[in-house]
């Protein structure tokens, strides 16, 4: 057998190296994703199990018998549906208000330079970092005096501030990307600045508005402490406190129902995120990456 020509050997070893590299990359990807995804698999699998199997066979990997019983139980629980409705109302309202406020403020911070504007922007961002339990302490007492406990407005105005500071920064970032000539042309044509903003600039800021809506929705949907404190009646309760107070008994916990409920309350955030993730990524990194 004659020896292979040197170039062929080289090409082969290169290709082999590339194949190896590919195998390594996918193997690493699998290991790293397993860390993130195994608990989520367990959440899903448990939600399709019977209560008996969870106790009798805690290591059962595939749900067998596979049952939707836990989902039926959760979905026929009127309390769960009330909590879900309350969470949707509060968080959708929060999103809308945050988008409106952040759009106006972010646009102006992008277009106007005034004394202290940089300091004001940094100050707004700093408010996002204040310890929320400390704020809640005083707001709880204020809302109690104003008879606003157990109402939507108390929750909504609180939730708006969760995402607003960061949202103003995101909107400013997006508005910086829209050339000023566009609204100047509209203003020469006789539009007021507000008309120019609404008719010409807003359509170009849609990705930013989606990012802000999503960010503020997720921030509110995640809250536990505020909703636990500001509501006490079952009819006004949101999902996170509802979870604590419904499925986790002192003596027994309905794990399959808890997991089925978990899957159901994760659907809105996962769905919204999957559809719109590129806008959020763009928004979150607009301030962080550039520069």
């Amino acid at each position: 057998m004659s020896a292979l020509s040197p170039t062929l050997t080289l090409r082969r070893s290169r290709r082999r190296a590339r194949v190896w590299h590919g195998v390594m990359v996918y193997a690493l990807l699998a290991i790293l994703l397993a860390f993130s995804l195994l608990p989520i698999y367990w959440l899903l699998a448990t939600s399709f199990k019977t209560r008996f199997d969870i106790f009798a066979n805690p290591g059962q990997f595939f749900p067998f018998p596979f049952t939707l019983h836990a989902y039926q139980q959760v979905l026929s629980d009127p309390h769960f549906l009330t909590y879900f409705k309350n969470s949707l109302i509060v968080n959708l309202a929060t999103s809308l208000i945050t988008v409106a406020l952040a759009l106006l403020a972010g646009y102006s911070f992008s277009r106007f330079r005034f004394r202290g504007n940089q300091a004001l922007l940094l100050f707004i961002l700093a408010t996002q970092m204040f310890p929320s339990a400390v704020l809640l302490l005083s707001l709880y007492i204020l809302f109690r005096q104003l008879h606003l406990l157990n109402t939507y407005p108390a929750l909504i105005i609180s939730y708006v501030t969760f995402g607003l500071p960061f949202s103003i920064w995101m909107m400013k970032g997006f508005a910086d990307g829209v050339p000023e000539e566009i609204e100047q042309a509209a203003m020469i044509d006789g539009c007021s600045r507000m008309q120019a903003l609404l008719r010409v600039v807003v359509p170009m800021l849609v990705p930013g508005m989606i990012a802000v809506a999503l960010f503020s929705f997720l921030a509110g949907w995640n809250d536990l402490m505020w909703s636990l404190t500001l509501t006490s009646s079952t009819s006004m309760r949101l999902i996170p406190p509802g979870f604590i107070l419904t499925y986790v008994g002192q003596f027994q916990t309905y794990w399959n129902q808890l997991m089925a409920g978990s899957v159901l309350v994760s659907i809105p955030t996962v769905a919204v995120f999957t559809l719109l993730q590129r806008y959020l990524v763009q928004g979150l990194t607009s301030g962080g990456v550039k520069g």
Binding site: S108, V134, I141, M225, S262
Partner: protein, 289 residues
């Protein structure tokens, strides 16, 4: 000119008003509560000077909560940073269906935190938890342990929950950063014979320095404030083993109704956060120029 000024004020004021009402006003009021003996159960509410602070500094729980808050803010952040960076580096390779895998990797961050808390509480449960089943199967433990009820293991489990939840955030930020690095520089380094390790430490890490600072400080701040991941899992227990400032303020304010004391804890907590926030803002604004 007048119109422009009216427009500017009219657009910025609504946002500032909301922030003032929900953030600034309560902040000032809470600080003033810390100087009183305000208690909703005893009905006391009078000026008390620095009395709350002196009881606070002689309360052993204060030092426990401080240590727990610091450890739980920084430890899980480091673990999540390493794992998130690894995920970002792998996802930055030429792989098929990258956005699909990125979407999967994001799931731990997208599902609500209260769901995360209960999921881990279930997995670490003594009688029905899968962690005990696996560890027994591997022969690492002889019998099932109540992980979240033991003072030695509960902080580690809570730390694991934090880390698991925030890996995707690091992945997302660092992947975006990697994709913004110029390919030319990386290729030039390869041609010059830089090993991947050298390339990583001399080109990638310096190139991402700003995004690394911002995302790590942000996560530390979020961990400092976290309540949702701890409360449903341990309530700060067993015996304060996982009590952080967030949990402690909540307990003092809304279970003991000891408003003055809770406010005093809050003031100390706030001072720590202001220091962190200073570093964060410096990183954010330093890059604007």
């Amino acid at each position: 000119m007048m119109r422009e000024r009216a427009f500017l004020i009219g657009t910025i004021f609504p946002a500032l008003a909301v922030i003032g009402f929900v953030v600034l006003y309560p902040l000032v009021r809470s600080v003033s509560f810390s100087l009183t003996n305000y208690n909703l159960i005893f009905g006391t509410h009078s000026f008390d000077g620095l009395q709350q602070f002196s009881s606070l500094f002689s309360d052993p729980t204060f030092y426990t909560a401080l240590l727990n808050t610091l450890l739980l803010s920084i430890g899980p952040m480091l673990a999540a940073f390493v794992l998130g960076f690894a995920q970002a580096l792998v996802l930055n390779q030429a792989i098929r269906a990258r956005s699909f895998f990125r979407g999967l990797a994001l799931l731990p961050w997208v599902i609500p935190q209260v769901v995360v808390a209960y999921l881990f509480r279930f997995m670490f449960n003594q009688s029905v938890g899968v962690v005990n089943v696996v560890l027994k199967g591997l022969g690492l433990i002889a019998h099932s342990l109540p992980w979240l009820a033991l003072p030695h293991s509960a902080p580690w489990v809570v730390g694991l929950i934090y880390a698991w939840n925030e890996v995707p955030f690091f992945m997302l930020m660092l992947l975006a950063g990697l994709q913004s690095l110029s390919g030319d520089v990386l290729e030039a380094a390869l041609v010059d014979g830089a090993t991947p390790v050298k390339q990583f430490f001399y080109i990638i890490v310096p190139g991402l320095r700003r995004i690394i600072t911002i995302s790590t400080v942000l996560i530390v701040i979020w961990n400092f404030n976290n309540f949702t991941l701890i409360w449903p899992t341990t309530h700060g227990g067993p015996v304060n083993a996982t009590t952080t400032f967030a949990v402690w303020v909540y307990v003092q304010a809304f279970e003991n109704f000891n408003i003055g004391y809770a406010a005093a804890i809050g003031v100390i907590w706030l001072i720590f956060l202001l220091v962190l926030t200073f570093f964060y803002l410096r990183a954010v604004s330093g890059s604007e120029q």
